[in-house]
Symmetry: C2
Subunit: 416 residues, 2 copies
């Protein structure tokens, strides 16, 4: 069963907004066995929307559109969909009731006709109730195919996908099981890794697909398959993972959590151990802390973090000795280890991770080359650090430093 996601909005095509909706929808569809064949981003333009719907109908079975459902004049998705189905818009009482309820609860301005008009939906459609906003989702069937239209506001779209679209798709179709398993590999480039595992790759069964995902400082190796026998598929993929690990023993850093990211793996392990974490950041400027606190449950292990960006803050707030800084510079193993140790003490945590470096583009408070980063890990007995050079692109340096800090922390907490 194939799907296409159509995201509608000029803001996507002028680069004002990054399309994060598609990745979310694709992930949720994959979980229930629907493969996304294509993602298409188009303008708020009638002819363009009509053409995209027709093209998608020729390619796939399930079409999910987002965007263009607001009450203002630049939003034209709903009436264009009605036109596509030779349909008219009719008032839906349940939707109107929902709009009036939202207004009463949350909004102080007057309920306008344009807001009430959001209760107009194509007569052939079934509304998908949006409890978080006034634009309803819509579900229209045409033969075996389903067209779904959702608002583009991410949290409204997410709730509709989770509570309405996914359950209703599962009711209507019998989907296969899709499995992705991603191995994290550090310290080997794409081609060196491919060379190392070539014989294994060539012997992979046809229905298991391999992908290399290089990302600053780490590689992800993804195995994907689909079919109706979940137990068998899981076993087959696990067998392949067991075969490849011995070939990359040194560089293998574990499986990516099915939900995603390294920080989730670390969070789970710290919570399991009952251990706590503190973070002291200079060049990464809060980005390491943000990786942890964007997930719920962080308060179980995360004591707190410091962003000591200015040298004087390192001295005054984190109690780094001025003599050390003068002797070794702020970008040094001595300073980063003191940052980790002092953060650990300050926050009374079991572990601490610290970063200091020069992300560029110009040299900061030290003579260190642009791209130089020191990262330290403190545990209850010890503190140690490593020096890196991450090149001369600012965002790349920051991202690589965050990845490397998480990698070092992951290795540390899985040591025991």
């Amino acid at each position: 069963m194939l799907a296409e996601i159509i995201t509608i909005g000029d803001e996507l095509l002028i680069g004002q907004v990054v399309d994060t909706n598609s990745a979310f929808i694709a992930k949720q569809l994959n979980k229930i066995g629907v493969s996304v064949y294509q993602i298409t981003s188009i303008q708020d333009d009638k002819q363009h929307i009509l053409q995209a719907l027709e093209d998608a109908e020729n390619r796939v079975d399930i079409i999910i559109c987002t965007g263009g459902l607001g009450p203002t004049k630049d939003d034209i998705t709903k009436k264009t969909i009605a036109e596509y189905f030779n349909d008219i818009l009719v008032k839906n009482d349940a939707v109107l009731e929902n709009i009036e309820h939202i207004w009463k609860q949350h909004i102080r301005t007057k309920l306008l006709q344009v807001n009430k008009d959001q209760a107009l939906i194509p007569s052939k459609s079934k509304p998908l109730m949006n409890k978080l906003g006034t634009a309803p989702g819509m579900w229209i069937e045409k033969g075996d195919k389903v067209f779904i239209s959702l608002p583009g506001v991410p949290y409204e779209m997410k709730a509709l996908i989770e509570y309405q679209v996914v359950p209703q798709l599962k009711d209507k179709y019998n989907f296969p099981f899709i499995l992705h398993k991603t191995m994290i590999v550090y310290g080997l480039g794409e081609s060196a890794l491919a060379d190392r595992i070539e014989a294994w790759e060539d012997a992979l069964p046809k229905h298991i697909k391999l992908a290399y995902l290089p990302n600053l400082g780490k590689m992800r190796l993804r195995l994907s398959t689909k079919g109706f026998d979940e137990v068998k598929l899981r076993q087959e993929v696990q067998d392949q993972i067991d075969k490849v690990i011995p070939l990359i023993e040194e560089e293998y850093a574990g499986l990516e959590d099915e939900e995603g990211s390294v920080e989730v793996v670390i969070a789970k392990q710290l919570t399991k151990l009952g251990s706590t974490l503190a973070i002291a950041e200079s060049c990464t400027g809060g980005a390491v802390a943000e990786r942890f606190t964007s997930h719920s449950g962080a308060s179980a292990f995360f004591k707190g973090g410091l962003v000591t960006y200015a040298t004087e803050s390192k001295i005054n707030v984190l109690n780094i000795s001025k003599a050390d800084i003068d002797a070794h510079s702020v970008v040094s193993s001595q300073v980063v280890e003191a940052m980790a140790k002092n953060a650990q003490q300050l926050f009374q945590s079991d572990y601490a991770v610290a970063t200091t470096g020069n992300a560029g583009p110009t040299k900061g408070d030290s003579d260190a080359e642009v791209g130089t980063v020191h990262i330290a890990i403190a545990n209850n007995n010890d503190v140690y650090s490593q020096e890196f050079n991450f090149g001369n692109s600012r965002l790349k340096v920051i991202q690589k430093a965050v990845n490397k800090a998480l990698e070092m922390l992951q290795k540390e907490i899985f040591k025991n």
Copy 2:
């Protein structure tokens, strides 16, 4: 002149990676007068790539593909492009030299045949030298149309767009000027805002397009136009802005910087004033600091930040009095104002912003309802705070709190 961006990679279609490349490319193209008609994300599949190229050629003049140029077997873009043009791959000596140079400088493993093969490009193409990686970009002309293929690794793609694609497109074509101006409006919903400015909107000249961009807690109102007379277009758009501001006097919070975001506006103003900033975060967990430090030049004004996630960290690190916490709870105006004041003292900054709240999904170290957030601003004379409820979706609460903190800070520093 219209363009289409085709991003190639299974990782996009399973939701493993968010497509940030398209927004970057679209923004750069807009700056030189190229409108992006469509963005299409497709699989690493030969037939699919061939079809997408053909469809795009029928729609637009400039086609930019990213992804699928790596040295491993799952990357098939290059040979598929050769097939599309009935072409063969030939070795390009300059590209090979670049690959060997990168290898010598940065990579310790052996240079393999698959890496050398990255110097093979379609005979009809001109290479776009990639100084940051081994996959060259490619430029192929067919009649009046241009096909450009770039690696998907963001920092390699970005450098190629900036230093090769944009200058060469400007050489080849005579583009119009595209202008977007975005006004930031706080405290009015989409329909209430549209109602307020309806007469103005209806009187807008046909060639100036208006878009409403709702985002948690703030609205953006974008005016877009294009043509060959830059001075006249700028004046016309400015005239419209001058007309609408009196209608939204209370809620208008300034123009978004042409480069993007509120934090850039704040950064510029602080740098101009020679003033400094400190940040103390609880529920936003480093996200406010990260917004500032992801841009270069932050060290000119940003003294540092604290993430005091655990209550004991607020007491031990930020010297919040335990009595205050016991009396008012950690989520209170008293505590958030003390956080801002103490951060300002600790980091010796002119301004400080602080957040404390409960982002959910469960209640934390206080009895505050999920979604309750207090935000404080300290300046050299005063400290004040506001209480908000941002709903019950964790990421929404965090994002809204960050937006609101930036809004309050922006108002504060533009007060004088």
